[in-house]
Amino acid sequence: MKKATKLFPLYFIFFIFSVSLGLESQAQTAKISGKVIDATNNEPLPFANVLVKGTTVGTTTDFDGGFVITGLQPGFVTLQATYVGYKNAESAEIQLSNAKAEYVEIKMENAGVALEEVEVKANPFVRTEESPLSLQKLGVSEIETSPGSNRDISRVIQSLPGVGSGVSFRNDIIIRGGGPSEAVFYLDGVQIPTINHFATQGSSGGAVGILNADFISSVDFYSGAFPANRGNSLSGIFEFTQKEGNKEKTRFRGAVGASEISLTLDGPVGEKSSFIFSVRRSYLQFLFDVIGLPFLPTFNDYQLKWKTRFDKKNELTIVSIGALDQFRLNTGIENPTEDQEYILNFLPVNEQWSYAIGAVYKHFKDNSFQTLVVSRNMLNNTSYKYPENDESRPKSLNYESQEIENKIRFENNIRWGSYKFVYSLGGQHAHYFNATQQQLFVGNELIDIDYESNLDLLSAGASAQISKNFIDDRLTLSAGLRTDFNNYSSSMGNPLNQLSPRFSASYALSEKWAVTANSGRYYQLPAYTTLGFRANNGVLVNKENELKYIAANHFIAGLQYIPRSDIFFSLEGFYKQYSDYPFSINDSISLANKGADFGVLGAEEVVSNNKGRAYGFELLNRSKLPSGFNLILSYTFVRSEFEDYTEELIPSSWDFRNIIVLTATKNFKRNWIAGIKWRYDGGLPYTPYDLQKSALIPAWDAQNAPYFDYGQLNQLRLDPYHQLDVRVDKKYFFEKWSLMVYVDIQNLYNFKATLQDNIVREKDANGNFITVDNNTKYVLRGIENTSGTVLPTIGIMVEF
């Protein structure tokens, strides 16, 4: 019976595919319409040529820049546009079906040449003047069919070059040896504080992505060479571009995945507006309960995009996302195993809700466009723990925190011939609240943390960047300057202390070869948890400690080879130099080593005196061949080192050394897609436990988990981790509706990653914890801790 139960998923997969083989598409009549416009002034471009990439099927735009292409095969397509005097351009990748017409805008950049054909080869790996290297783009096919990602954007971006993933059950984003708190996220130009459910406050990671894959059209990922109008990041910037609602009719998409059900609705509103809205709810709690996991999370989220084009010169986009993360401990497990008991004993209940809403207004002039972004986001994070999960006892942890940000940003993008000039001004009001009651065992004593903190912070920033092409466009130079400041302290209030210059250059050695380089100094505000941390007497101790913006200097140089417009190779060397990183007073370690665990990062006393560096190189091949073969193969060698308490550089917790990611998908006939992803992460350093301290009864009881021996910070190293994921998609495009089914198997060969042992307290025959040394210590024992199992998933999506 048990065997039959285990085999059920396989039976089900077989059933789904067997049934679906009997269904086949009735017609191949996909249609796409759209508009070709000038990227700077939004003017339509009449009589531009639009071609379906990889075919000779195409059309010409009408007098209003509009076009329609019909009779297409459903599936993923990219459109190419050519127009005299403009650089060739490609659309975002679009998924076509018979049931609905898609709409796409293709923005073309004026080449500054009036009447000549400009042969600038468009390719899907195109980069910008400001960021000629360290910029990667993911299209919709790479998102939708990414093996092992289960349509979770946060997981998809972990397949990008230079991104380390930490442990497999979390979505931390660790870029080129930086800490997981060093990335920022933009959704259609609106900054959002987190992209994950059950997010680690003050960091980037979490359990599951919030962003719904149905919305995402493309992802731009900067691992360096940040444009000046983007601040507050040391390691990475993610720009998510969302699809627009359908222009012709309201349509519906429902998806049932391994962990959640989602409903998406999109369509037109009048002639000028469209919307796309989705809600999702997970049913992980049922699955987790069935397989006996000690925690039962439930996540809910919504996502909205509204776009109104008042006329060709004015448009408004409103985006919003929100998440509600509920959580309870599975205390009903009968006879829990040691692992289950360990987790139940230390894991606090963590519940969150968050939202972000923003309006982006764009106004286009003849040679420029202006963008005004107004947004608000809020995170409410609570966490509590009852000793032994006994709710009749006082809580050993009671944490409540809120982060609210109200932002405004103005940007002006101007083109003067071959010059591009972008400047921005921004302001922000942030409110941070924290009420914490907790016992910590620091040094050799138990201390009570009991503080409440309210912090209001006013910040401002400004940037300017100028770019120009020289020598027949072979040489491109870009220089930018940015500063950010706030009223937290006099040091942070001086804009000259946070001057952030950046410079990029690219030179085309030939049609196929180019060299690129970038250097920049970047600043990031420490987490609100750190800024707002108060001692029990209410003093903002980190303000007293003259907390500073964290700084990083980047030096990057690259070589790229593009033998064809659909094949791209690059080699990039990078060196990042960190300074003023917060250094934990309690633990005597850099906060750069923390942040990839559930809970809160940075709510402690720190000083801004830590230094570090990350360096290495990255080898990348991306191919998007007309045959439907899509490849991302990257090898990253990275060393990440931060100073320990003796100011000696030692490997940080993100010193992966070697990261290999191979993602390959192939489109086959009859709308089959198969793909694999193989990932290899070098073993990460870890810190052994201080078992002497951990065994002390008050120490253990304070956190129900062992303490690290930070005197031996990162002196041990885990074994490398690798995993193979496979995925098969089958799509059915009927006249009125579409059915998409996929099977995704994570960790096909069942690799077990060995993690640091869990520590449990020994019990006697009666189930009581054994104590020694006059009842001052528990007896501790390590139990093996592995992660990784074969995880098959079936996803079903219906669209009509």
Partner: protein, 254 residues
């Protein structure tokens, strides 16, 4: 299947209408409001023909030819021809390779109004099949097709015979549909500049009747690439092309 049945029925209906076009009768329908009137008297006196074009929802810069034929199918006179077709000189010139200049220039578009072009050729009007700046269409009013509903008011050169035929051919690029899709004749530049083929409207007029108002109906379409001058009567594959104009109405007056 249901959809195709409707299309077949519609085709049959249109074919019937085409065959009986000569029996059109006056209808006292509300006349379209026109925002522009073009008055072009070729003759000094005679019957005035006013042709009202009511813009349809698919109207998107169409090319247009209006002409009259006798009952034998001989062209009597072209009354109106879109200037770009009449001169072979378009707002966006041909840059070669299927691409377009950003400035006006010459271009050959045999698929724009092929039925009229071949009727004209048969009538030996002009010296070449395709008009050009050097060989423009003579004796017709030429101008841009109005962007809104309009009326052409004209007095032909010659007095009209008792029975004659008024024809209109209209075409616009960009109007791809499921049948006339971009991949149908992949790589054919003439087809690419036409999308759905030209649509021909006609009505037979018998001045011995006392009718003063005639409605034109579609009778067929031209060749998709302008390769011949045949009239293809199956217009069931046309969709938005049928909505370039909501109605075309002829008013006769002395």
């Amino acid at each position: 299947m249901k959809r195709y049945s409707v299309l077949i029925l519609l085709s049959a209906l249109f074919a019937t209408v085409a065959l009986t076009a000569c029996k059109q009768t006056e209808r006292s329908t509300k006349l379209p409001e026109v925002s522009q009137e073009i008055f072009k008297p070729f003759g000094e006196d005679g019957m005035t023909l006013q042709i009202d074009f009511a813009k349809g929802e698919a109207h998107n810069y169409p090319s247009l030819a209006i002409w009259i034929e006798d009952t034998e199918g001989e062209v009597i006179q072209t009354l109106f021809i879109t200037k770009s077709v009449a001169t072979g000189f378009y707002a966006y010139g041909d840059a070669g390779n299927g691409k377009w200049l950003k400035e006006p220039g010459a271009a050959k578009r045999p698929a724009s109004l092929p039925y009229w072009l071949h009727r004209r050729e048969l009538a030996k009007v002009g010296n070449a099949p395709l008009p050009s700046l050097q060989n423009p269409v003579p004796d017709a009013y030429t101008g841009a097709t109005p962007a809104e509903s309009f009326a052409l008011k004209t007095i032909p050169f010659e007095p009209m015979p008792t029975k004659f035929k008024l024809l209109v051919e209209v075409n616009q690029p960009w109007d791809w549909n499921e049948y006339w899709n971009n991949a149908r004749f992949e790589g054919d530049p003439n087809y690419s500049s036409s999308a759905q083929p030209s649509l021909v409207y006609a009505v037979n007029i018998d001045l011995s009747d006392d009718f003063t108002v005639y409605h034109l109906n579609p009778i067929g379409h031209g060749h998709y690439a302008g390769a011949d001058g045949k009239l293809y009567s199956n217009i069931s594959t046309l969709t938005t092309a049928l909505n370039i104009f909501d109605s075309i109405t002829l008013h006769l007056s002395e």
